[in-house]
Amino acid sequence: MPSDSVIPSSFRDPSGFVFTHEGIVYRQVNLSYKAEYDRLMESGCYSSLVQKGWLLPHEELNNSISHTHEGYITLRPEQLPFISFPYEWSFDMLKDAALLTLSIQKECIHHGMVLKDATPYNIQWHKGKPVFIDSLSFATYDEAEPWVAYRQFCESFAAPLLLMHHKKYPLHPLFLAWPDGIPLPLTRSLLPFKTRFSLHTYLHIHLHAKMSGGNKPASGNKTARFSKQKMLNLISSLETMIAKLQLAPQKSTWSGYYDEAAQRDDYLPAKKALVQDWISKLTSIHTAIDLGANDGAFSRLLASQQIFTIAADFDPFCINHLYQAIKTEKLSGIHPLVMDLSNPSPAIGPYKGERDSFIQRTHTDLGLALALIHHLAIGKNIPFHKIAALMAAACHTLIIEFVPKADEKVKLMLQGREDIFTDYHEAAFENAFSAYFTIVEKAPVAQSGRTLYLMQKNAD
């Protein structure tokens, strides 16, 4: 098996690895993990978690594809259309991932197993819900031992959620600085003083941070025994603490955008009708990315046509709002994503990158970039050709809206600053995008002065 087909994010766990073969993702279970894997399958733990929709189901293959000598069994997990990471999630997405991890830990304990790690990277989003994907994270439970992944849980779930709750600010980019979780002493120093008087926060963060100092070996205390009830109390305490957390609602830059936009004559209905008309003419569109999705009005339109849609926006409040709507309305075809296109998530980790960049992960049939171009070109000073290259990397077919300088929103953006954008006009826009795309259709959006383009990516 070529080593470059092994997905680099699975290098940390010696129990097995994830690899791709002919476009399908597989997981190899190594012989060293045989006993634990068999226990997961035979104890009823796997079937119970899958039945609840908490664990991604897999099928066991009779033949090994990887042909490595340490292999025990090859699994073909249910395939996910998109992989995202916690630095791209909104507050409630991280909170639900945390609560799911705790629920799985409790369920495992009832089946004589335990989670040996508790990281948000083990959770992905499938059909609108969080799902645990790492079938190698389960170990045999020894009641006398505390939870091996407790610190990891506190650093990578509890710490960022508590900080966001108390600071009233979305802090998901902290995961880029500390991919393995926010250090507890730092969290402790940033949390308000009053949090010391909350029993759960005091125990899991303040006391934990204080006791984490020094170089004592982790398992040095062999005299004190743990118990199943103590473990369940610990999980229950973490659950109680996290369930109460919320991101204080704020009037963000873009919340209410569509209410405002709807008042502009027949702008929105005309745009919706155009997009719908073009999509109905397109064939073989199964996946899409809605760039600048806002509250997801157009993502919903795509999802209603059975198109799996990544709804990306740089505003974490909008995405959180969309995620809450996805939960309430049980929408299964939309993946909300917090993404700043002027600074898309980089690849992180040693050497080639443990986690792929946003650009490496995003290859959709359709891209939607509505009322976005002026924010990138004027708001962020990004030249048209760089925006075109970004779109060409993300999708094959593109529906993009051009917003002219005469538009009142652009005028508003240019207010109080020097207009250095002499090249911001339709001809330059078409010219830059023509380097990557062929313009198939072009139509004005009602009387707004804005133009909608349907483009097809040129063959490489």
Binding site: K116, D117, L207, H208, S212, G220, A224, F226, K230, M231
Partner: protein, 54 residues
Amino acid sequence: MHILLYIDPGSGSYLVQIIAAAALGVAFFFRNIKNYIKALFTRSDKKPKDNPPV
């Protein structure tokens, strides 16, 4: 412990769990008594606490 420790559980993290579990044992003991007394005077139409998170 049988688990292959490929993540560092953290120095002090085991000890803090032992202390936290003891403190929580006391806290939950009194909470249960409070809930029991409360339940005597109110109708028990509460949903079970063990709901799935999502």
